[in-house]
Symmetry: C2
Subunit: 125 residues, 2 copies
């Protein structure tokens, strides 16, 4: 039994191509971290509440929810904390909301490399 689980939280969309991109983005993390899963805030499956319920059924006692969001807006400041508080009480499970990925310096560095690669492709040196 794994006592702790990480859920990568994405917004969700009615467009399946949007979700495919998030599944690719989460791929390296899901492969590297046992039990890690993706969960959607709305519009897509599996939902955050489904994944929290599954964690509880699996006997997990603590969940870290790590948002695949570039920045914290209303969703991460209000909606998601309210959802998590309710789910935590409902399932008797500790849930911690981490900072969105975009607040980590590594993201800005990755973006710099992507922009430079793109410019090199446009204008070969």
């Amino acid at each position: 039994m794994q006592n702790h689980r990480v859920l990568l939280l994405a917004h969700g969309s009615s467009d399946p191509r949007w979700c495919e991109t998030f599944e690719k983005l989460a791929g390296p993390s899901l492969q590297a971290i046992p039990g890690a899963a993706i969960a959607y805030m709305e519009l897509s499956q599996p939902s955050l509440s489904e994944e929290i319920a599954r964690a509880a059924r699996d006997g997990v006692s603590g969940v870290t929810v790590l948002p695949l969001f570039l920045a914290a807006g209303r969703h991460l400041r209000q909606d998601v904390p309210a959802m998590l508080e309710k789910l935590s009480t409902e399932h008797g499970i500790d849930i911690e909301l981490a900072a969105p990925i975009g607040e980590h310096p590594l993201l800005g560095e990755a973006i710099q490399h992507i922009v430079e690669e793109r410019l090199d492709n446009d204008n070969p040196r």
Copy 2:
């Protein structure tokens, strides 16, 4: 005169903290790439149309718009291309819309490192 310019496109928000995160995310790119600037689709300043107008005034003939978005939804598939077509005609400037950063494999790898670092902090080895 720089003949080509890159604009990093963010969505925009009424929450100034949201924009601060994007300015930090764009920081390494803006420092490394002469002329690069951030532009917002809506709700925040400077707007995409202001930045395209400024590029035209500066004598730039081509702009690459690189979206600081994790995935392409309706905005990047419909709204932004329509805005760019109009701005391109209006200012007589070539504008290319690049893929969003989230479609680059480097992003998935960066996310993996961020998740692992976070788990290490939660559960020191």
